[in-house]
């Protein structure tokens, strides 16, 4: 038997036991999101759950690793405008805009770093 999933309206077949990411590349789809800053396309890179390049929305749950999620029949993959930080469609987040622009990085650090 073959599972059927959808990615942005396209039918994606999957062999039971395959990951979502494997099914996508097997179907010739190599990218499914874009980066936050430059809009660069991203798909699988490390293939083993380490790089987080392959993030995808799965049945409305955002930012899952496509290389780890097992394919399932009827799964809905991705959303229309997926970026690294996009939220699932229909989510209340990100829907508002009071017109004030913000452009500030912020201090943050990794205190695990060794220090004398």
């Amino acid at each position: 038997m073959t599972y059927r999933m959808t990615f942005r309206g396209t039918d994606i077949p999957a062999e039971p036991g395959q990951s979502v990411g494997a099914a996508l590349v097997a179907a010739g789809i190599v990218d499914w999101r874009t980066t936050r800053k430059e809009g660069r396309p991203r798909g699988l890179f490390c293939g083993i759950g380490v790089c987080f390049d392959c993030l995808i929305t799965v049945d409305g749950t955002r930012a899952e690793r496509a290389c780890l999620i097992p394919a399932a029949d009827g799964m809905r993959l991705g959303d229309a405008l997926e970026t690294g930080d996009a939220l699932g469609t229909g989510d209340a987040l990100g829907a508002s805009d009071d017109g004030r622009d913000r452009a500030t990085h912020h201090a943050e650090e990794d205190g695990d770093a060794a220090h004398p």
Partner: protein, 404 residues
Amino acid sequence: MSTALQGAGPGPTLSRSADLVIVGAGVVGAAAAYFAALAGRRVVVVDRGAIAGGTSSAGEGNLLVSDKEAGPELDLALYSQAVWREDLAEHAGLWEFEAKGGLVVAATEHSVAGLRELSVHQRASGVEVHDVGHSALHEYEPHLSKDLAGAAFYPQDAQVQPMLVVAHLLRLARGLGATVRTGTEVTGFLRSGDRVTGVRSTAGDIPAGAVLNAAGTWAGEVAALAHVAVPVRPRRGFVLVTEPMPPRTVRHKVYAAEYVGDVASSDAALQTSPVVEGTDSGTILIGASRERVGFDRTVSVPAISTLAAKAVALFPMLREVRLMRTYHGFRPYCPDHLPVIGADPRAPGLWHACGHEGAGIGLSAGTGKLIAQALTGGQPDLDLTPFAPDRFTDRTQDAEEAVS
């Protein structure tokens, strides 16, 4: 790195003498270097590590007035605000200065009343405060819990990227003739009688007209090398960093009214009040806990889990958001929670600018300018008496030990 100079006796002398040696390339040392160099002084900054390698790269970059009760620290914070926005205005973009405003929320009517009372005093000191009622909360922050009673909005609260502040202030100071020597540890002082006439370091002696101790959490150890006591101690804080979220998920610096109480507390036990804020990189920062555990670097489950629980209580949608990283730093604090700024009468030639606790980023600009004014013989814009290095009696220290 040579360590041959730690013993007594004269070591080799670096060819270039200085008007001012600054010990510590953190945000306070960098600000002092900039303003002293601007005033025409020949400055040498030394740090045993890299630039911004201490607490200045282990905290957040809030420039808060909202969390301070009326008093000398609030005065210094307001003065610093002016320095950030006026003296340093042309460089603001370099360190991503942003006046995003702070929203202090209260869970109960009782704490709303406390907020209102605090704001009366703050307004009298020159702080701008808008009262926010329950119904208006979600216009400020759409994702806030519905269970909160009210808030106060502080438009002056701002932020910077502290590591960029340090790097650029030092770059600007270098442009004004200052020298920055990293990987150079100060191991002692050059003395002439009581007078401090320079430092000895792992890279040789550096004679100087004055030495500024800006060694942050380690300032007590540096002071001890000059045989004076400055009671600066570490107060650990953890910060949580989430996965990247869409812009403006959290719009302001949002924290619970209870935080103000924590800041002023002398309790050694863990205190956590969530200060939640979004960043341009999309991450949401949740910080910071406060506890006195020395320099313990192991991750504290009580600290990070309590931060998470309280952040989720403020913003329920955070429950499903992933934690990507945690980090921690050690705030330099003094028993009375005020920094140490000024000349040390016990060791002429030695100056201090340290002990800024959880506000050193914000207070650095004002501190640097004031120190430069005092060093160049001028009358500082702000009275430095409350920050005097010799204000600590044995009694204040004993009381402090008893609490610890």
